[in-house]
Amino acid sequence: MSYFKLTASAVAIAAVSATAAAARDQVQVAGSSTVLPYASIVAEAFGENFDFPTPVVESGGSSAGLKRFCEGVGGNTIDVANASRKIKDKEVKACAEAGVTDIIEVRIGYDGIVFASQLNGPAYNAFEPADLFNALGAKVLKDGALVDNTNTKWSDFNADLPAEEILAFVPGTKHGTREVFDEKVILAGCEETGAFEAYVASGLDEKAAEKACMDLRTDGRSVDIDGDYTETLASIDANANGIGVFGLAFYENNTDKLKVATMSGVEPKTETIASGDYPVSRPLYFYVKKAHIGVIPGLKEYAEFFVSDDMAGPDGPLAEYGLVSDPELSATQSGVAEEQTMGSNM
């Protein structure tokens, strides 16, 4: 009857685990899949250079990460949330309700969002925000009136673009990348083409007009990708006429398959993004629970190491991988060193 012994040992394991849940010796990080590569590079180097164990980095998206971050304070909640966008007021409130009040916001640098297509595919070489709005917006301006988008080829609205069927793979709404795409490309295009004014003239207030602008067409020409960039890449591989939205770092790792288009005439490169010439970029952040500093060993060291010149500086491994380093890195460094929380200096 050896299985009685097995059961007994299983119960013992469960009992041990219940007491061990509070004591954790490595930093736990979760959040944006855009920040994940950078966080994993930092975590690996951190494990090599310090006597602390290598931090654990999970992905899942900015919103999912921040949601878990705001679950509360304690050993079985995460210490750091990575985000490819700023934390929302709503999320700060949710955090506060769960007892997570002191949050340290750390900006690690910038990420460019690029539009790429098959290397040997059609000549999608230069886009303007207006082109993408005309291709993907739910309603576009035609002869001065807002009508449902019936454009089927890129050349329908811009003779310089190839006469190819419109097909775009954009990140799904749970990705932080989507928000940047909506605001900096689609909304900009909406304003450029005059559709925004038409919305306002039709009686919408500005906020509603912005929202209406960012509606994408739903007839299958704009495809939401809820997975990662590899899924977008696979879709591009299968559709020669498709364009996809990628992070700069992902594109730079796959230059053998993809070619990138300029936006408003500017080629996406670390230099053009750092100078602000390339319009579609966004800051990347991570958020630290101050209450966990001193409780979880290595947490503060990890945060400081992340923004150190060796890692996040212009010659560091993060920049090498594709991060556009922050010109104000030294201010961030001192902010982390002093454990400045959100709201205390803003």
Binding site: L6, L36, N49, S59, D256, E320, Y321
Partner: protein, 452 residues
Amino acid sequence: MTDATSTPPGGGARTKSSLMTLDNRVRRRNAAEARFRAYGIAAVTVGLIFLALLLFAIVRNGVPAFTQTFMTIPVELKADKLDKNGNRDIEEIKKVSTFGYKPLIIDAMSRTLADNGIESPFAKDKDLEKMVSASASAQIRDFVIANPGRIGETVDFRVLASSRVDGYMKGRVAREDLARDKNLDAEHLDVTDALNEAGVLKREFNWAFILGADASESRPEQAGIGVSMLGSFFMMLVVLGLALPIGVAASIYLEEFAPKNRWTDLIEVNISNLAAVPSIVFGILGLAVFIQFAHLPQSAPLVGGLVLTLMTLPTIIISTRASLKAVPPSIRDAALGVGASKMQSVFHHVLPLAMPGILTGTIIGLAQALGETAPLLLIGMVGYIASNYPDGIASGFLDPNSAMPAQIYEWAKRADPAYYERAWGGIIILLLFLMTMNIIAIILRRRFERRW
């Protein structure tokens, strides 16, 4: 047949036929049978072709992951860089981070080139650094910390080549691909070719892939599946330790002792239903119950094992009940007839005879659990997680870890194409495990199964 051979009463004018000559009807029936056989053979062939294609793709894409390009370079452990005060104080040596070791590697590379009579095509020696894996500086730093006495000497290190160089040696990276790649330039490939000819670069079997830990996105050449294999191992221990006793106890009770009434019928139906529940549902359940309610640690193999136990239980219960049912009632009757109690008859006679079937079911359940990814997504076992070896049994169960299928999924997601190769390699290892388990199950069944 009678219709064909005997003349019907009433004397209808039926043509006489012989069994030796085929009439139309028989011919049609024969043709139908031949067609059906052809369909069957076609179905089997299509299946086999797909299997062959799958295996071919896996082997072709995955095998390169098992070898890796190494190079041996002489590194001068300069005292003025590593130990500025010269007192060999281990704490001071530790202060030099891996970044401080980069210049040493660059020096070692340009020296290797000079030693082999290769002219460097680069204006700055710094460009040579791209050929060596970023793991090299950590490797040398660990060596220096372990042997502070050797500072000042020149030591030969066998370091990993960077993933692009490795890809070029394996034919994955082509010269024209590098035109727009900032990770490596065509000149690097000239150096690679020259070093390859000189015998500095060697492509060797890479044990670190099977035994090593996961690596970050910037150094796929270093990544291994070893730690997540341990994660899978600890999860399987939990599944075996919980699902086998619970499953067997439940099925013995239901099969041998429980009264047949509406309640046991209800339980029976529910067990069958549970077996068909998608595994992701168990993941959500695990997240809600084990992590959010019971406060077990996140990403821990213990939680993964508990979730997979829930998933495996129905499989084990169903197969155990089937093998208990297969034991003929005469065995029970004989045991009871010579005065054994009900429990003695079950444990001394029925259970041993049912054991091969139970074990087979358990192993197949375990194999199913080993390959499961979906529930692990929800309890935080996907990401850059399998980076530390567990340092003991307790830490094996409780420290964050990944599992083999989750690690493969994670690799397949990563940007660097070198990780794609590793994902296929991981699939080969996972398949080997699953095949071994299934073969053990078959052997157990063949060896010990009794037929009555």
